[in-house]
């Protein structure tokens, strides 16, 4: 399967009466976006705003971050099974509005987190502070249940991203990159001397605000399976979760999964990126055993020499992570795991809720309990009271000068476990 990504670089977003892309500027008709979002009868109102890198702006509570993309050639459309029809994506040509994102905010439950600061110390911990962000602040109709509320905001973000992506359909790409994955047989024949490396992505799948969707299917209802890595570039996997924002994958993370891109960039050179697998992180313990058994079975069946395993979340997924790692290692297949840590504010507590000596190669996204002081911002996009909840809630304190003392865990993507950032710990 071969997919060409054409990147169109976006250096600014301007609200305008017409939506278009011109000279690196994305012009967005707020009215058009509003009309699109209001198609959902559960939406009471929506505000459209722009947050640019360096501006004194805080976005919160962040629900999802989505990169606008459009399928130009090849079967299917972006976000298959959710927006588009269920049809296998990942081949042909896709255009990407690079450097910008749609950010959705919505207060679904009273204790939500998810902060993106566009400047100041907090900005260093989230790569979304480097993007031009079109922010949707969505208010639901009164009495809307949490599940529907989550669904409404999720769909609003995807639809807006697809709408903006559409603007890039006939544009000339600033840069192109080709990703090709071969069948198991072909790649083995083509690269007989390179180690066969697989990627096992663990998907959060536990309940409301803890879910992930694959071709529209709730990941908790599926067994571990194989996916073509180019499929994720067209939005085959997307996010329905946002609680404990630091180590949850937004849809942007899925579209730009750095393990996938970096493995592709090494493919045929230092390794053979032989397969990508996905598995879930369910609450039911028997599910955990079954899913990890399945991951190990597949890794063996695919004849892999090594598997990189990325986690999503903390606590109970630590159990899935260690099960996956142990069972794959016990098959004689080498693993490297990517996780993050909850080592306490002082860094002295045990970082993971599970451990095994076979997990001898660990990459960490850092200690999510570490405390950071976020200065007051001139403007908050989203829900002011969420800042107060975050600041006054379990993870932080408001200080006299209006700055808030919080743990890194409230910052969207701060300790991301697909290895999106450079934060680490020792």
């Amino acid at each position: 399967m071969k997919l060409t990504l054409g990147y169109i670089d976006i250096r600014d977003i301007q609200l305008s009466n017409e939506s278009k892309v011109e000279n690196g500027t994305l012009y967005v008709s707020a009215d058009a976006v509003k009309a699109l979002v209001m198609e959902d009868e559960n939406v009471a109102s929506v505000a459209v705003d722009v947050a640019r890198p360096g501006e004194s702006v805080r976005i919160t509570p962040v629900k999802d971050v989505i990169e606008p993309r459009v399928k130009v050639e090849g079967p299917g459309s972006v976000f298959p099974g959710m927006l588009g029809k269920v049809q296998t994506v990942g081949s042909g040509r896709t255009h990407v509005l690079r450097g910008c994102a749609v950010v959705t905010t919505g207060k679904i439950v009273g204790f939500q987190e998810g902060v993106i600061d566009m400047t100041g110390p907090g900005a260093d911990y989230t790569l979304f502070s480097k993007l031009m962000n079109l922010v949707l602040v969505i208010e639901p109709k009164d009495g809307l249940k949490q599940h529907e509320h989550e669904h409404t905001i999720r769909m609003a973000g995807l639809k807006t991203a697809a709408y903006l992506g559409e603007l890039a359909r006939s544009l000339k790409a600033d840069e192109e990159e080709v990703f090709e994955s071969l069948s198991i047989k072909e790649s083995a024949e083509k690269y007989p001397n390179l180690p066969r490396v697989g990627y096992l992505q663990m998907l959060q799948s536990q309940g409301l605000l803890h879910d992930t969707y694959v071709y529209g299917v709730d990941a908790k209802k599926s067994l571990s399976t194989i996916i073509n890595p180019t499929e994720v570039m067209d939005g085959a996997i997307l996010s329905g979760n946002c609680v404990s924002a630091c180590d949850k994958n937004t849809t942007y993370h899925h579209l730009n999964n750095p393990v996938v891109y970096d493995l592709f960039r090494q493919h045929g050179k230092t390794l053979n990126f032989a397969a990508m697998m996905i598995t879930n992180e369910n609450v039911y313990l028997a599910d955990k055993e079954r899913s990890s058994d399945w991951s190990a079975k597949m890794a063996e069946f695919l004849g892999l020499d090594g598997v990189i395993i990325s986690q999503e979340g903390f606590g109970n997924p630590d159990t899935d992570l260690i099960m996956n790692c142990r069972k794959i290692e016990e098959k004689g297949i080498k693993t490297v795991i990517i996780t993050d840590e909850y080592a306490g504010r002082d860094g002295t507590s045990q970082s993971l809720a599970d451990a095994n000596p076979l997990a001898d190669a660990v990459v960490t996204g850092g200690n999510a309990n570490e405390v950071i002081i976020l200065p007051k911002m001139d403007k908050v996009i989203g829900h002011l009271e969420a800042v107060e909840t975050i600041a006054g809630g379990f993870a932080g304190n408001i200080r006299p000068d209006g700055s808030i003392e919080v743990e890194l865990q409230v910052i969207t993507g701060a300790t991301n476990e697909v290895g999106f950032g450079t934060l680490s710990a020792r």
């Binding site: 490396v197 390794l271 990189i308 890194l408």
Partner: protein
């Protein structure tokens, strides 16, 4: 900013007084720089000054720890420095232990920031790396230049109370405190680099070492049980009724040592458990269910064992949380050895 005042501690060898034959050399303080201090002074430039150097023989220090500690502490105190540097000791074992001991004492008792340096296999490293900042050096004095290069900047930061970064950035040995920092490469590409090394059988360094799973060789068995002194130790939290030492129910910060001279049986009225890690009803009813004093008294009387040791030791560490238990055990094991205990029965819940 005023100049940072430093006092350095070195041994007889680095003071060029002599080798092993001079290892009994008693503590002496000289003004200014001696030996390796020259290299440190050069690295500090105008930022810091070594105001005094304390010299002490390794044997003297290790054989007269308490006395040596007191003399050196008084010397350091008299200079009221901003920072205390011990060593670097490289691979010299007794020197390393002395450096760690005195650095920890200065830090704890004088509240002055301290720094030492040694080779990773120096026994002093394992003993002190979680207590004081220990910079990893090469295994011989030939690595002095490298050691100074790592120690001098960290020393200045410590003296000025600046934020100390992660171990791999600052060059100190990992001390169990996890610290965040930004790597050059993103996580995904670090994972791939690690994978390639692991696949090629090359050395790689995990960013998060799993908790220790090391082993200790079994000791020789007891030869004659009928003459042996047996001590009871429990992690089941058995304490005299009322928990006189207020042993906490979890994440214990202390352990208990209790005299059971003449105690034949633990009863509901006299003993209980302080452990929060299990349902306490059964142990409170009859603490012998956890700490079997009654049966061991029988054995003592029947001559099956020589005698039951006069004291038992108790902690509330549960099976999985071993972090703090380790330090306690090291401490009371020494007492058991000097009390002539031949074997230990350790009971866990």
């Amino acid at each position: 900013m005023s100049k940072v005042k430093v006092v350095q501690y070195i041994n007889q060898f680095f003071a060029q007084i002599g080798g092993e034959e001079m290892a009994d050399y008693k503590p002496e303080m000289r003004d200014g720089v001696v030996g390796p201090g020259t290299a440190f002074a050069a690295a500090f430039g105008d930022e810091a000054e070594i105001v005094a150097t304390i010299i002490c023989g390794d044997s003297y220090f290790n054989e007269n720890v308490e006395e040596a500690k007191k003399i050196v502490l008084d010397m350091v105190k008299s200079k009221a420095p901003d920072l205390f540097i011990a060593g670097p000791a490289f691979n010299a074992g007794r020197y390393g232990v002395a450096c760690g001991t005195i650095a920890a004492a200065v830090q704890d008792e004088l509240k002055i920031p301290v720094l030492t340096g040694m080779y990773k296999e120096n026994p002093g490293a394992d003993m002190f790396k979680t207590k004081v900042y220990v910079v990893e050096t090469k295994n011989s004095a030939a690595g002095m230049r490298d050691a100074v290069k790592k120690m001098a900047p960290l020393a200045l930061k410590l003296a000025r109370g600046e934020k100390i970064g992660a171990s791999c950035q600052e060059g100190y040995m990992p001390n169990g405190v996890r610290k965040n920092f930004f790597e050059e490469k993103r996580g995904s590409s670090r994972a791939i680099d690690m994978m390639l090394k692991k696949l090629a059988g090359k050395e790689f360094t995990t960013e998060f070492p799993m908790p220790d799973f090391d082993r200790v060789e079994p000791n020789a068995p007891v030869k004659d049980m009928s003459k042996a002194t047996i001590a009871l130790v429990t992690s089941g939290g058995i304490v005299p009724k009322g928990n006189p030492d207020h042993i906490e129910s979890s994440s214990a910060s202390k352990y208990g040592k209790y005299d059971i001279d003449g105690v034949m049986d633990l009863t509901e009225e006299t003993y209980e458990t302080a452990h929060g890690g299990y349902d306490p009803v059964y142990a409170n009813q009859d603490a012998d269910r956890v700490l079997p004093v009654d049966v061991l008294r029988e054995f003592e009387k029947a001559g099956k064992i020589g005698k039951l040791h006069r004291y038992f030791y108790t902690t509330v560490g549960n099976g999985t949380a071993v972090k703090s238990a380790k330090a306690f055990a090291a401490e009371f094991s020494k007492e058991l050895v000097s009390a002539g205990v031949d074997a230990v029965i350790l009971t866990s819940t």
